[in-house]
C-alpha cells in the first residue's frame, strides 16, 4: 500500500444541511433533459426531429467539432424540443419519458477480453465517452489521444458532498470493477484510484483490482481529482491525462455487463433550506421538481438558490430544472438579496469566515446557514497569502491569475495553468477579500489557451 499523501492546506466550509444516509428511489420525472452547456467546449448538432421516439442509449446530438462524440438519451421516450438561450445557444434538450425504459442493446462483453479499440468504440457508440474528461481543460476526452494515466477520485470533499462510500454497494460494486477494467484498456499507463484516509471504508474501493490506490488526507479540495493528479502524476506541458467519477465508472461497468446504457445514479439532496436532506436514486437528466415537493423551508422561490452540484462549483438552476450531467448533488441555500446594516462593523456571530476577522474560528464545531450574498464590493488584489492557504498545490495562484488577466500566455504555461481547473481554485474565490471571480478568470485563461493551441 502506498503511503498517505497528507494535505494541510484547504478548507472545509461548515455548512448546514448534510444529507442523511437514507436512500429513496425517485419516481419518474415528467420530463428529462440533457444540458449541452454541461459539456464544456461542445457545440451540439441535433440528430432528431421533434416528437421522434428514442430508446435509452439512442443518440440525441453530436459535437460539431468531433462527430464521434455523441450524447445519448438517458431514458426512452419522445424528443420534446429544445430550450434556447442568448444567441440561440441550446440550453436544454428535453425528453418526455415512457413509463418503462426500453434500452438500445450495445451487446455485453468482458472488457478484459476486448482490444482498446473495441472498448473505445463501445463507449463512443453508447455516448458514455462523454463521462471521460481530460486535463488540461476539463473537456470531454479526445478519442485520438492515449492518456498518460487515468484518475478517479473515490471521495468527494466538497461542502455537503455525497458520501461515495454510501453510494456504491450491492450489485454496483461488481459493475464498478468491470468499469475499472474497461478504463484500464484505454491507457498505457495506470489507472489511479484515490481514497480518503480515514473515511474510505468501502471494500469496493480499498480492494479494487487493476488500479493503483492512493490515500489522501486533509480538507477540501483533497477530493478534487485535479489536486490528486498534481500529487500523483502531474500534468506537464504537452501531457494529457483523463479522469472520470465513480458513478460513471459504474455506468460504464453496466454497459459492458448488460450491454445497455443504464443512466441510474444516486444524488445527495443537500443544503440548509432542504427539510429532509437525503439520498435519491434518479436517472441522468431528471428534474428536481419532484424532490423539492414539501421539502423546502419556504415556497418563495425568489429567496432560494437551487444549485446542481455543490455550493462552490455547481451551476444555478431553477426549481423546475434538471440535474447536471456530471453532478451527483443538488444544494438549496438561501439567496442573500437583502442589505445588511453596518455589516463591516457588526460582530456577525451567525456568519462564517475562513479568516479570523469574524468569530467563527472560535467555534469550529458550529455549522452555518450561508446565503448567496457577496458580502462586499469588488476590489483590486490587496490581501496577500489568502489563496495559498486553501490551495494544496505547488502553484502560485495570484501570479497565475494575474498572468491570465494580462493575457500573458507564456507566463500562464510557466506557472502551471495546465494543472488546474476552475474547481481547484474555487476555495480561493470563496475566501477572497477582494471578491475576485477566480473561477471565471481561470476558465477564461484555459479557453484562450485551447483556442490558441488548436
Amino acid at each position: 500500500m502506498s503511503k498517505t499523501i497528507r494535505l494541510r492546506k484547504g478548507l472545509n466550509i461548515p455548512l448546514k444541511g448534510e444529507a442523511e444516509k437514507i436512500l429513496t428511489n425517485a419516481g419518474r420525472s415528467s420530463t428529462y433533459a440533457i444540458k449541452p452547456p454541461d459539456f464544456h467546449g461542445l457545440v451540439p448538432r441535433m440528430l432528431l426531429q421533434e416528437g421522434e421516439e428514442v430508446k435509452a442509449g439512442a443518440p440525441l446530438f453530436y459535437n460539431k467539432h468531433d462527430e464521434r462524440i455523441i450524447i445519448t438519451s438517458p431514458v426512452s421516450g419522445q424528443y420534446a424540443g429544445l430550450v434556447r438561450g442568448d444567441k440561440r445557444r441550446v440550453l436544454e434538450v428535453r425528453l418526455k419519458p415512457d413509463a418503462v425504459d426500453d434500452y438500445l442493446d450495445f451487446g455485453s462483453a468482458d472488457p478484459k477480453t476486448l482490444s482498446r479499440n473495441k472498448v473505445k468504440e463501445k463507449l463512443l457508440a453508447s455516448g458514455l465517452w462523454a463521462t471521460i474528461r481530460q486535463r488540461p481543460y476539463s473537456i470531454i476526452a479526445d478519442p485520438d489521444d492515449v492518456p498518460k494515466s487515468i484518475f478517479i477520485s473515490a471521495f468527494d470533499s466538497a461542502p455537503l458532498a455525497p458520501d461515495l462510500d454510501f453510494i456504491i454497494n450491492g450489485h454496483e460494486a461488481l459493475a464498478f470493477q468491470t468499469g475499472l477494467d474497461a478504463l484500464n484498456r484505454l491507457t498505457e499507463g495506470k489507472v489511479h484510484l484515490s481514497i480518503n484516509e480515514p473515511q474510505t471504508m468501502n471494500k469496493t474501493f480499498t480492494h479494487a483490482s487493476g488500479v493503483e490506490i492512493h490515500r489522501f488526507s486533509g480538507p477540501h479540495p483533497a477530493g478534487n481529482v485535479g489536486i490528486q493528479i498534481h500529487h500523483i502524476d502531474p500534468v506537464n506541458s504537452g501531457d494529457i491525462v483523463w479522469y472520470t467519477d465513480i458513478q460513471s465508472v459504474v455506468i460504464i461497468g453496466k454497459l459492458f455487463e448488460k450491454g445497455i446504457y443504464d443512466s441510474t445514479k444516486i444524488i445527495a439532496l443537500t443544503g440548509s433550506e432542504v427539510l429532509k436532506p437525503r439520498y435519491w436514486r434518479i436517472k441522468q437528466g431528471a428534474s428536481i421538481e419532484e424532490l423539492m415537493k414539501n421539502n423546502l423551508t419556504t415556497e418563495d422561490n425568489s429567496s432560494l438558490r437551487f444549485i446542481s452540484g455543490n455550493v462552490l462549483t455547481g451551476s444555478k438552476i431553477s426549481r423546475k430544472s434538471y440535474i447536471g450531467f456530471y453532478d451527483s448533488q443538488v444544494t438549496v441555500i438561501p439567496e442573500g438579496n437583502k442589505p445588511e446594516f453596518m455589516g463591516w462593523l457588526s460582530p456577525k456571530l451567525n456568519k462564517y469566515s475562513a479568516s479570523r476577522t469574524l468569530f467563527s474560528y472560535l467555534t469550529p464545531w458550529k455549522k452555518y446557514r450561508i446565503d448567496t450574498n457577496m458580502h462586499g464590493g469588488n476590489r483590486a488584489f490587496v490581501i496577500s497569502g489568502q489563496y495559498e492557504k486553501v490551495l494544496p498545490m505547488d502553484i502560485l495562484p495570484v501570479q497565475l491569475i494575474k498572468a491570465i488577466m494580462i493575457n500573458d500566455i507564456e507566463m500562464m504555461e510557466k506557472l502551471g495553468i495546465y494543472e488546474v481547473a476552475p474547481e481547484d481554485l474555487a476555495l480561493c474565490e470563496f475566501v477572497c477579500t477582494s471578491k475576485t471571480e477566480v473561477q471565471s478568470i481561470i476558465k477564461e485563461g484555459l479557453d484562450r489557451l485551447r483556442k490558441e493551441l488548436s
Partner: protein, 394 residues
Amino acid sequence: MKIIKDIRDKIRPHFDKGARFGRFYRAWEAFDTFLFVPEKTTSQGSHIRDAVDMKRTMVYVIIALIPPLLFGIWNTGYQYYQAVGIDPAMLEAFSFGLIRVLPIIIVSYASGLAIEFLFAVVRDKEVNEGFLVTGMLVVLILPATVPLWMVAVANIFAVIIGKEIFGGTGMNIVNPALLSRAFILFGYPAYLSGEVYTYTRLQEGHQLVDGYSGVTPLSLVAEGKTEALPSDLSMFIGNMPGVIGETSFAAIMLGGLFLAITGVASWRIIISVFAGGIFMSWLFNIIALNEYMMIPIHQHLLLGAFAFGAVYMATDPVTAAQTRQGKYIYGFLIGVLTILIRVVNPGFPGGVMLAILMMNVFAPLIDYYVVEANIRRRMKRLKKANIIANESKP
C-alpha cells in the same frame, strides 16, 4: 433601522445613472455601502462567499492602531508636563494630548476623504477604504507639533502620489503614508527634526525646566550620548519623546498581536523584521567600533520607530512581498537595513522609514525570484518526465 432603510430606498433613485445626481453615484455608493453591505448576490463561480470584505479588514487595522494612538495622546500631554516640571494626573495628560492630536486626526481624514471622493467620482470607481488606514497612519508618524496645513499636504500627497496615480489601493508601489512622511522630511525638514517632539508653546504660568532637551532617545544615541538613554522599562512603556504613535513598544505590540491573531497582517513579516533587526544589531555588537554599535540588541528594538514600522508599515500587504518565502526575505532585509542606516548613517536617525520604502521598491524583485523558483521546479519535472519517457521507448 427600518427608517434608515426607507430613507435610503427613497433617495437612491436620484443617484442612478442618468438621474439628477447620477454623476455623484460613486459618492452615494460609498455612503450607502458604509451603512449597508449591499444586497448583491453571487452570479458566477462560487455561490457562497466569505463574510469578510475589504471594509472589515481595513477597520481591523484601525482597531489595531487604537492602542498606540491612545498612548500617543497621553504621551503628548505627559511629555509637555515633563518639560515644564509638573507630574500630571493621567486624565490631565490625556486631555492635553487630545486637544493637540484630535485636530490632526480630523484634518487628516477630511483631506484624505475629500481627495478620495473626488477621484472616485471623476474616475467612476468605488471609493477605496485604504485611506481610512493611511489617514490614521499619517497622523501616527508625525510629531504632535506638526502644523495642520502640513497634515493636509501630507495626506493629499499620500493619496494622490502614493496611490491614485497608480490606480488606487492595491496598485501602489510604495507605502503611501511613508512616502508622504519622506516627502515632508526632505521638503520641510525643520518640522520633523530637532526638538519638535514636545509641545513647547507654553501655557500661561508654565516654564521649561532648566536644561530640558526634548530630543528623542534615538537622537541621543546618534549624538553618542548612550548613557543619557531612558531606562529599558520606560522605553518599553514609551513615555519618551517621539512622533505620536511610535514611542510605546508595549502598545504597538498589543496592536501587532491583534493584527497577527486576526490574520490581517502577516506575522511572517513582523517576525522577520525583528529577526533582521536582531541579526544586524548582533553583528554590530561583534564589530563594536563605536558607542552606537555597542548598544544592546534589545535597545535597538525599543528605540525609534522600529516596532511601529515592523507592525504597521512593513506589513502593508500591497507594498510588501506577496509570496510566502518572499515575505521572510523582505521582512528580514527591512530589519537589517533599519539598523544599518541607523548606525552607519546617524544623519537619518529614523532608518526604518527609508528601509521600508527601499524594500517596497525591491519587493517585486524578491517575488520575481520566488516565482522563478516555482517555474524552475516545474521545468525540472518536465525534463525528468521526458527522460523517463525516452528511456521507456523501445
